[in-house]
Amino acid sequence: MRIKKKEIQSEIFTGSMADISFLLIIYFMITSAFSATRGLDFALPEDTDTPEIKQEDSIDVHVVRGGAIEVDGKGLPLEGLLPYCLDKLKQNPEKPVILRTDPDATYGDMIRVFDTLRQANEEWTDANGEPLHMDVHGKPLTEIQTISIPTRREIENLWSMLGIG
């Protein structure tokens, strides 16, 4: 008698695939952090090329407690900072801006002023990136070349070198 062999079809069980997939999606959605990945950058000068900056050759921006600013010793609203810098840099585009912050002021106060200074490029160029202002030598003025953020120790060292305080 001929026995008919029953063929078993080999197949991968995919019934639980949807469950596993959704579980993975939920895992990734929960654990993937919406972290901040952007910020303000600044490069620190190397010892070899640190220029000697005199106070009268720079624009001194001092952030005081409460977030107000004093520019070259005079109180100024934040909106007036870039126009002031523009006037000064037209005379000397290499003039550095020194940003000092009171220890009692908050980090947010300092960042607000730093962000304003960093917006110079956007404010001083048109939509095509063309310069809107020229310096006294007729060269385009598109940004603040140097923004220095000295630490309190550096300021104290400088003062002691100058014999102040």
Binding site: L24, S32, L40, D41, Y107, D109, F114, Q119, E122
Partner: protein, 149 residues
């Protein structure tokens, strides 16, 4: 004359699910590719800025968070960018950490992640530690500023 209708055939309502597997796998591939491990998960209110530059991956992170209790000291944590952050208690530890990282890679970038309400003297101390360690590139982490703010 009334029309005699035949028995109406009812088709069962169903949702087309054949493409579900494709969509699900596409989403999984997306999440796998974009998944990043956040080395420092300290919750804080970052300052808002208009100018925002993308910070490099694998940069070392120093986070400064205010304490829950005003009398407690600030929480400062450091991470190499590849391992989870660890708390440090003194500024000298920040200098040691940064110096070690700079010795390994002189162009190592550092991210300072600080709460906007932190008194500036603490950020100043960290910046000073980084300068002492000959760090060249620093990024100050921020959130996007919007017109309402």
């Amino acid at each position: 004359m009334a029309l005699v209708r035949g028995r109406e055939r009812k088709s069962a309502a169903q949702i087309f699910t054949a493409s579900m597997a494709d969509i699900v796998f596409l989403l999984i591939v997306f999440f796998v590719l974009t998944y990043k491990v956040e080395v420092d998960r300290t919750k804080m209110d970052l300052p808002d800025t208009w100018v925002r530059i993308k910070v490099p991956e694998k940069a070392a992170v120093i986070s400064i968070a205010p304490p829950d209790d005003l009398t407690a000291p600030l929480t400062v944590r450091v991470s190499t960018g590849e391992e989870m952050s660890l708390p440090v208690s003194t500024n000298e530890e920040v200098v040691t950490f940064a110096s070690t990282e700079v010795a390994r890679n002189p162009n190592k970038e550092f991210i300072v992640k600080a709460d906007e309400q932190v008194p500036y003297e603490h950020v100043d101390a960290v910046l000073d530690a980084l300068k002492q360690s000959k760090v060249k590139f620093i990024y100050l982490l921020s959130d996007q500023k919007t017109v309402d703010e």
